[in-house]
Symmetry: none
Subunit: 195 residues, 4 copies
DNA sequence: GATGAATGAGCGTTCATTCAT
DNA sequence: TATGAATGAACGCTCATTCAT
């Protein structure tokens, strides 16, 4: 399918997309060059080594590729929401909708994030999306829309809940799963009603 | 430490315990026989092959070993609780307490559950602990202590929340993390207050 | 030739001896496992990996093997010499005689010494044989048999002269070469005659 | 630094000079096109293949480049010497002075000479510089300045002694090393004093 | 019960080089 | 003149497993 002497950027994209597929299917460490070659109809593993410095670089780029797509898919929805609670709901729904639309992307992302070796002084106590959620909760508390809880714990919990939906097997009914999650985290975050 | 011609059962236990350590440290797929041999001071990978039919069998037994320990650690606490809500809190607190006491066991369990290939007709819609939680929620709803929600989604979410604590980095403050989780899932499950 | 399930020590020796041959023939870095396998009639490169931790370990052992043989060949001759000058001559003659008898050993030794990566804090300013020569010259000067020169420079020069004979192509006439070297270093080291 | 569409000769020189650096640093066989490309800021290994028919041709040209520089550095000094013994001293001092001034050039030269595969019917019994030394010794013997010894052995020995200084580690004190070598080979070559 | 010896398959990576502009 | 793209072969090494005691 891919003709010889293809433009490099197309080749790179093709390889990355194939890598995402393979990672989603067999997992991070099992996604060998050989499997990517087979799946992508490439001529040799050397082609991957040619376009990417090493395996880790390929995976890093694959993650960036997926994140970019997810952002594009989710951002408008979240930005359109007025209240923080609505943003939270939009985040959950957008995430699981993306997961339904691009299951391989989502699964691959979870795999790569979980396994990509962190740089030395990485210091990231939690990846980007967790920190983004922490900020959202801070905003919600400042706006009086949310009760006071440990933002980090809540953020980690929500991320885990979403990732579990991605890894889970009942991918048939993701819309329902999303609705349930929205309700769970609405109840968990709203200011408590006075008796 | 392990003398030659040891009793078989001790050998098995020694290998399993070592495997748990290694899995916790380097992950499921990276826990090779060679690493277990080195860590456990064994003479050769052949010893593992001798006691376990294959790698998967070893991992399955390792999981059983860990689950058994976790059960022993958590069960009394849960059984002592009177209401379902108390049982739920006891489950969360017990889990994270076990995680604090036996971090390697807990991490290894998560790793193995996440990676152990399922048998062909396995059909397990979720592993044992998820199904146990589903039952707990059913009881809570029957007793009128909990609102009506999708038991499976809630169970998967709680399991993911706990596992995330295991994998997470702020293992320093697990007691606090536990308290926060208890509150989150209390709010998410209680019957809603009427205005 | 080599039967299966051979005793390990024999296998190791066979591999080492083959490695020495190959290194002597094609050089340190070109002596690949594959070439050793072919030359030694081994079943697979895996056999080498099985018996030696890594390539460097194999080469280190190969060097030790050669050095041991050289020692056994040269030591009696040197020990028998009475004066330091006689010891020096015995060293040169013994070296080149060993070189004539075991050319591959000698060439391989030079190759390995020149290319074996040194350990971190190795600190060896010069390998063992150079330091042995330095001591010999110190003795000679103390005994009044040798003039005062820089021992290290003389030692390095002599080692290089011998190694050059090993690498050289006129291996036909090594005995003559040896005689000439003896004379060169006798003249270079003896106390100068007063006019 | 090198702009595109550079004049070909400059490109060639740039590549050769870079190759010399890399060979000096990592050795002949480890000096890969990739490393030269990186060190020299070239765009692709293809550039080297374009300018040189193959790796061996590049190395041959690199050697010629270095030899030319060494000649330019050493020749005046030797030519200025009156007696053969003075020429010999000038040769040694000039060599080690060049080595001190252009260490990479000297080291690279030793590496290439030692590893460059000889052409089929090459028959060179020793490279150019050795034959030059043989001639010098012949002259010295004809002039009665030198005793009778095997010219070839002496030449090979001197070359090895100088090369060892290049490879050695005490590059700090090359001037002293040079003086010692001069003395060694003066004593080794002069006509013997009658008692 | 236990182990030393051996193995085929696979891994990511590097090599100098050729193809196609 | 110059270069991006691609490649087959080889590299040392690790894998879980089987053979033979």
């Amino acid at each position: 399918m891919p003709p010889t002497q293809q433009r490099a950027v197309e080749r790179r994209t093709h390889i990355i997309a194939t890598a995402v597929d393979v990672v989603a299917e067999v997992g991070y460490h099992q996604a060998s060059f050989a499997k990517i070659v087979e799946r992508g109809g490439l001529s040799s593993p050397r082609l991957i080594s040619y376009h990417f410095t090493n395996r880790e670089a390929l995976m890093t780029e694959a993650l960036a590729y997926v994140v970019e797509q997810a952002q594009a898919h989710m951002h408008p929805r979240i930005a359109a929401a007025m209240t923080v609670q609505e943003k939270l709901a939009a985040y959950i729904l957008g995430n699981l909708d993306f997961l339904e639309t691009n299951p391989t992307c989502a699964i691959a992302a979870v795999q790569i994030v979980a396994n990509l070796p962190r740089a030395e002084g990485d210091q990231t106590q939690g990846d980007t999306s967790v920190r983004l959620l922490e900020q959202l909760f801070t905003d919600g508390q400042a706006a009086g829309e949310m009760r006071h809880f440990d933002n980090r714990v809540m953020a980690v919990t929500l991320r885990a809940a979403i990732d579990a939906a991605a890894t889970g097997i009942d991918r048939a009914n993701l819309a329902h799963h999303a609705e349930e999650l929205v309700e769970i985290f609405r109840l968990a975050t709203t200011v408590e009603v006075q008796s």
